[in-house]
Amino acid sequence: MPTTAPKTEANFAQRFDELAPQLAGWQMPWIESLRRDAYARLQKVGYPTARAEDWRFTNVNPLIEKDFSLPTQVEDATLDLASLGFADAIPGSRLVFVDGLASPRLSKVGATPKGVHVGTLSQALANDGSMDAAALVQLHLGRYADGERLAFTAQNTAFFQDGGLIDVADHAVIDEPIHLVFVNTASVATTPRNLVVVGKNAQVRIVEWHLGAAGLTNFANAVTEVIADERSVVDHVKLQRESSAAYHIANTQVVLQAKANFTTHYIGLGGSLVRNEVRVRFAGEHAEATVNGLYVGEGKQHHDNHTVIDHAAPNCASHELYKGVLGGSSQGVFNGKIFVRKDAQKTDAKQTNKVLLLSEGATINTKPQLEIFADDVKCTHGATVGQLDENQVYYLRSRGIGMEEARRILTFAFANDVVSRIKLEPIRDELERLIVR
């Protein structure tokens, strides 16, 4: 077992003084203060309760009450990634983290173009790490994601163990995707932390995988920060396939400079309690963001999706499409915030949210939230919640296709509307296979 903490110990998040000195980069004063500040913030704001508007439908008590511990050493000797759902044949470099800790054995970083650095955060923060990498981390880490009231992000910053550090220099272009693979094999807490810094006019594609062995009750608290400089093009996919008993809380914070183009697809299939936040801030003009998501719930899964699109600069465009497929007695939450700040004239923001309820027991709480302080903007949002269209089901059956198959085809078509927009073909194929089931 990778965990050495005895069962009677309290939740890792209550043992900061004891654990923090062992965490990555503690020897550097700025990391120590980053972590201490984050921990103080966590103490101050506390964990969200049902009274917090943003958490009304999601109860995080199990995450606070359970005695999760952080793993202390990587156990990857016999691990087979394919069996955990990683598409092994997929092209591109990969950084693999087993229960939150880097696995050099399973990672594979090929020759990257000049100016592209793919490594782990722990490496960058180690005593023998490169000065450049540490300086880059110091410049960016925690500067974007660590909002004042985000308890779980604060928890991650205080306790993060490892994650990917991707640095793409100005004008560098990397075609093959870079995979950040987080596999869970034990019912422990993990604190993945990724930092992606993309220079001016640079291009990169990143795929985050969050995978877990069946039946695990692990808790992942993941934070990813993406900084996209002027004219850069960033394509991000997050594939979440934790065990259906796992807890997954995540915050992806993106900052876009002028004319940057950012696309993200979140595909949430696993987890028992999932809260996935995607936050995009437009910091420069004429930038564009596509923020898409698909979540599929069955059994008792709880999928909570929060997106925040912050138009803080004029002339930017955001397109958002979120779809949910909910069966069994699963629950979905979608909260899509769009802020258009006073100076963000000529903003073009579009949000679409569609939910397909496959059973009587499935429920959805959905809420668009547009706060617009500029007067010359185009903002649209639309939400639909419905069942499969009986006429469509009948049409398929009238051509000899059985009831089950007809429903499956139509459900797939609904979900594939999101999947088909993913540009990386191998990921698309993989997902089509997974969703067809």
Partner: protein, 250 residues
Amino acid sequence: MLTIKNLHASVDGREILRGIDLDIKPGEVHAIMGPNGSGKSTLAGVLAGRDAYDVTAGEAIFEGKDLLEMDAEERAREGLFLAFQYPVEIPGVTNNYFLRTSLNAVRKHRGEAELDAAAFLKLVRLKMKILHMPEDLLKRPVNEGFSGGEKKRNEIFQMAVLEPKLAILDETDSGLDIDALKAVADGVNALRTKDRSVLVITHYQRLLNHIVPDKVHVLYEGRIVKSGPKELALELESYGYDPIKAGLAV
């Protein structure tokens, strides 16, 4: 092929079919005409297994089997095909995937081997030619963004691929231009053999010039009030339904 006796059906408690008798023999073409709202599509829907209708009396025997006992998909697999008056759009499902799944479901039922993508494509291309279907049809989602006429042709194209024993065409001719009408007629006629039958629901004579019926029936207020040879259709086109209605009123 199909024998209907005293068929009654209602929707939401309202009786729409009020005792239909019809006997279609193998190889025959029958036409059903009748004013709007007389129950033509309801009859087609009841035969094709649409859930919305309650059959309150009567029977329908298709190829010796009790049609009304079967689910919609079973009827299709047994060889009944309905070309809908209002075909449904299915975004996100390509014609290719839809038709192959459909054909394989039918083939499996017949005890034939399922077709792989290549074999299916070969078969389908041929039929596409006959019906002058656009090249990109297979890649497009089912009926999505199709014009009214394109949807109708797509119905006949599906029929051509599935090769049913009994095809029911519900106003397939309406909304078609002359060329499309000809293509549809060719498609139907290409399928005709001495064992296959067609039931054409229409308001006009023009399709019947190409698909010549053995019998014409007039449906009025849920009953077949008149049957006759193909000339009956011409008569209806010239004089409308008023003489028939008047005759009934007497």
